[in-house]
Amino acid sequence: MADTVKLKINGMDVEAPQGATILEAARQIGIEIPTLCYMKEINAIGACRICVVEVKGARTLVASCVYPVAEGMEVTTNSGTVYKARRATLELILSNHRKDCLTCLRSQNCELQKIAKDAGIQEVRFHSDNLEPQIENSTLHLVRDNSKCILCRRCVAVCKQNQSVAVIGPNDRGFDTHISCAFDRNLDEVPCVSCGQCITVCPTGALTERDETEKVFLALADPGKHVVVGAAPSIRVTLGECFDMPVGSNVEGKMVAALRRLGFDRVFDVNIAADLTIMEEAHEFISRVQNGGVLPLITSCSPGWIRFCEQYYPEFIPNLSSCKSPQQMFGAMVKTYYAQKEGLNPEDVFVVTIMPCTAKKYENHRDGTSALDGIPDVDVALTTRELARMIAHSGIMFRDLPDEEPDEAFSENTGAGVIFGATGGVMEAALRTAVESITGKELPDVEFTAVRGTEGIKEAAYAVGDLNVRTAVSSGLANARKLLEGIKSGERQYDFIEIMGCPGGCVNGGGQPVQPQTVRNFTDLRAIRAKSLYDMDREKPLRKSHENPLIQKVYEDFLGEPGSHKAHEVLHTRYQKREKYPGVKV
């Protein structure tokens, strides 16, 4: 069988790979066919019917997103029939969509709005439903408003296919179909892990993070509050997208400048907390290896993964690193070490973090894990998108900002902290420190490239002194499930595992900028954003956490040594089995 087929699209000759869809083939001649439901390989269901085209000889119009090309096929994407069909389908969708664009968080970044505008829809001729908001905000991390849902099922697909969580799906049928949890339970009554992947793929404003910008604005306006902010490693390579900058732009300096202009009393960097995490985690790993502790050790930076583990795989709780995530370590250190140093009352210190993640909002409310009794480590976790809104609302001309440096007291960081934002980054950073610690020798090459890349599961074994350290890295919870099942069956054996909840790690987190599916289908956002982080790592004078002078000072002045009693008090946490369906007897 030939590898390619020849066909005609709008009269033009196209040679496309065997098995390609019409939509893919059309891109070859510079035609982007609009879609609302299609997600390559994840949600190829042909449901929205926006992408219909004419195929000569076909009885009806066909959905170009799922229809394979064939030799001699003649396709028309711009006929009168297609023109009318696309408009009528759009009108039907709009007739059942709450069109309150002016009060919608996704206005101007809404795929439906864009397609309707591109099609020049000026009226809806069909009966339009007078929809009231249908708010479901039972969880700490997201808000669903089904009055804006167009039933594209992308959220359902990522939840099931990428995350193997599958807590949402269509209920009822026909016109009454709506996306919700089983038996229409609230999202907080099912084992959702708060990863927010559903939000980043929603084409409309039906799914948004729970907006907490007001809390931050009010804290900033409160003279009695000392408001401190820090951004996670990945934010600096994604925030620019919210201001129309190319994917992967490094905006670290502008980000700091913007945070300062928002009025934060101190702008620190969560990267240093990543370095701190490595100090504790590498120590924990070495101590488990040397003292016969539970192995494999599994990283605990990703609260989506932690919740997944607690709900679906509680048998792996003993394997979890007791280290808090960098976010929690950041907040804990600001409220103890920094507050103490500056003579501030921790109760007056308000910590805001900028996170690529919606599960961080949930993590802030995990019970009984904060460094100081009754005082949360972090007060508000904002997503990249929320920060972008604050910047825009405050009239800050982001693209024109100068590059600025964060405040010194708790910012200095290494390349090891930077790469936390990409899948494999935590493993690589940990290895840089653990290997040197075990062997006592300086690494000739700090790059552990085998654990880099966007594949869902990566494996690499390293000879470290007398030890053979078998590592695995997974991202996306469906891959985590595969990995854990493999360990349970004995088919896979490891010593050290990094698991990130979101596919590709934090650079593709549920709090990151929303890119339309037309971009996501054909651009690997994860790889481009990650590359920027690795570039930054390469430019850093220090690339190993234990070489960070500020970290060394922090241990000297405050924590003692990694794994010390003090470190445990401030930087470590504990886990518990959580019921999937609380209050339901199965």
């Binding site: 019917r49 229809y67 059942n96 799906g169 269509p170 026909g174």
Partner: protein
């Protein structure tokens, strides 16, 4: 003692087969229904049951069987009429170690019960056919997808499967040939869309019953991603007969392109209702006037609806049309699975279209936009028209939306959903116009357009006043009464009570 005189009767008793209802019928698929005890495999065997399977397994090659089915000209009885032999050929040609055979018993058309009768009356014929199909295409596992609302059919299928296993017609080493085939029942939850093949497959797999895009077709990638042969109950019921009697005999029945017989569920405004199996190509007139005995009460035949919610209305002008796949689609209807609903002059065709749309709106799976939202909007437009506030622009929009849904929906449910509207618009446009322009429902069905009045025949007997539940009628005794339209709820009680034909509606 005198011998008892035998009882005699003045009239000659005619054979059932010579009654009008039966004399035009030819029972192939229904051959054993009502004849044998469906719970007895021995009776089925006594009527040559499982002989076709025995012969197939011991004397014929799979390719020969596919060839016989091809030559018989049998076409899918589920509605679309795709040549069964070609389906078998595709599944047989598919290269895969694992294949499946499935039976669509998710009969969903309102008022249709052909498949149910076959399963209840002759379950072994379907089982036998499925084993033959498994042998012909190279499958060893079959599934019967039957709706849970058919408890007797399910029970009898279970009995039949158990018996067939006991007799060695299912399981390993059937007839000692080494061929293995097993059969399982899967219950549907009564969704109309699960009659669509990809939705049925998705449902058997344990998912929400929703269609998926084709290609890939089930014969290539079906159940659990494997090549799957899927036929309807009635189609399967024909198979043993064809193999027993030869394809030539089957192909001799019917028309040039549509062979064999078809069962119809005759209902509506007709004297004789029930299942009717006639050679394909029998005219609608024969079925309505002779088999069905015409409309009751001497009313005029107005239209026949075939194909259920996916079909269309055939007007009286086309009563001489032969009932076959091509002829029916040429006039905007379809054979469908066999629903045949007769309508007389008292039926409003706009209301009929609205009724079927209402059904489709309920039964759309909700996956694709044109069907999920489009059918709802279509129904709303029809509501507007039957409610009396429709405009000619609405009729235009109705037509445009019909075309849109037909042309853009993901599966056949949506693609055919507008057919009841399209066919009534085609043949009964005047009724739509009467609703929209004259604000009248000619058949007097649409309540929104009805006005009750009293004519000069009124004697002032006051019977209507006493029966009216809302006090809408007033007048002096022995004088002509009047109805207050503001109070009248159009319940028709006065009309039924009046002995003088003085109440009029229109």
């Amino acid at each position: 003692m005198e011998p008892v005189k035998p009882h005699t009767h003045d009239e000659t008793v005619t054979s059932l087969n010579n009654t009008d209802f039966y004399k035009h019928q030819l029972r192939v698929a229904l051959r054993n229904c009502g004849v044998i005890n469906p719970e007895s495999i021995d009776e089925y065997i006594a009527f040559d049951g499982y002989s076709a399977l025995a012969r197939a397994l011991t004397e014929q090659t799979p390719a020969e069987i596919v060839e016989i089915v091809l030559k018989s000209g049998l076409r899918g009885r589920g509605g679309a009429g795709f040549p069964t032999g070609r389906k078998w050929q595709f599944a047989a040609d598919a290269q895969n170690d694992v294949k499946y055979v499935a039976c669509n018993a998710d009969e969903g058309d309102p008022g249709a019960f052909m498949d149910r009768s076959v399963l209840e009356g002759d379950p072994h014929s379907v089982i036998e056919a499925m084993v033959i199909a498994g042998y012909a295409v190279g499958a060893h596992q079959g599934y019967i997808y039957v709706r849970a609302e058919y408890p007797i059919a399910v029970e009898r299928l279970n009995i039949a499967i158990r018996q067939a296993k006991e007799y060695g017609f299912l399981g390993d080493n059937i007839f000692g040939t080494g061929f293995a085939f097993d059969l399982e029942i899967r219950l549907g939850a009564g969704a109309f869309v699960c009659g669509e093949e990809t939705a049925l497959i998705t449902s058997i797999e344990g998912n929400r019953g929703e269609p998926r895009p084709r290609p890939p077709f089930p014969a290539v990638k079906g159940l659990f991603g494997k090549p799957t042969l899927l036929n309807n109950v009635e189609t399967y019921a024909n198979i043993p007969w064809i193999l027993q009697n030869g394809w030539e005999k089957f192909a001799a029945i019917g028309t040039e392109k549509s062979k064999g017989t078809k069962i119809f569920a005759l209902g509506g405004k007709i004297r004789n209702t029930g299942l009717v199996e006639v050679p394909i190509g029998t005219t609608l007139r024969t079925v309505v006037e002779e088999v069905g005995g015409g409309c009751p009460g001497g009313k005029k035949f107005k239209a026949a609806q075939t194909g259920g919610p996916s079909g269309g209305c055939i007007p009286a002008a086309h009563i001489d049309i032969p009932i076959d796949y091509e002829s029916l689609s040429s006039i905007g209807s379809m054979m469908g699975s066999g629903g045949l609903i007769i309508m007389d002059e008292d039926n409003c065709m706009v209301d009929i279209a609205r009724y079927f749309l209402d059904f489709t709106v309920d039964e759309s799976c909700g996956k694709c936009t044109p069907c999920r939202i489009g059918t709802k909007r279509l129904c709303q437009l029809l509501d507007k028209i039957t409610g009396g506030s429709g405009t000619m622009e609405d009729v235009e929009l109705l037509e445009e939306l019909c075309a849109h849904i037909s042309n853009n929906s993901l599966c056949a449910l949506g693609q055919t959903a507008p057919n009841p509207v399209l066919s009534t618009l085609r043949y009964f446009r005047d009724e739509y116009e009467a609703h929209v322009i004259d604000k009248k429902c000619p058949a007097g069905v649409c309540k929104g357009l009805l006005q009750y009045g009293i004519n000069d025949k009124c004697t002032g007997c006051t019977a209507c006043v006493r029966v009216c539940p809302t006090g809408a009628i007033s007048g002096k005794v022995k004088e002509k009464h009047v109805i207050d339209p503001a109070k009248c709820i159009k319940c028709n009680a006065c009309m039924e009570k009046c002995r003088f034909n003085a109440i009029v509606k229109g």
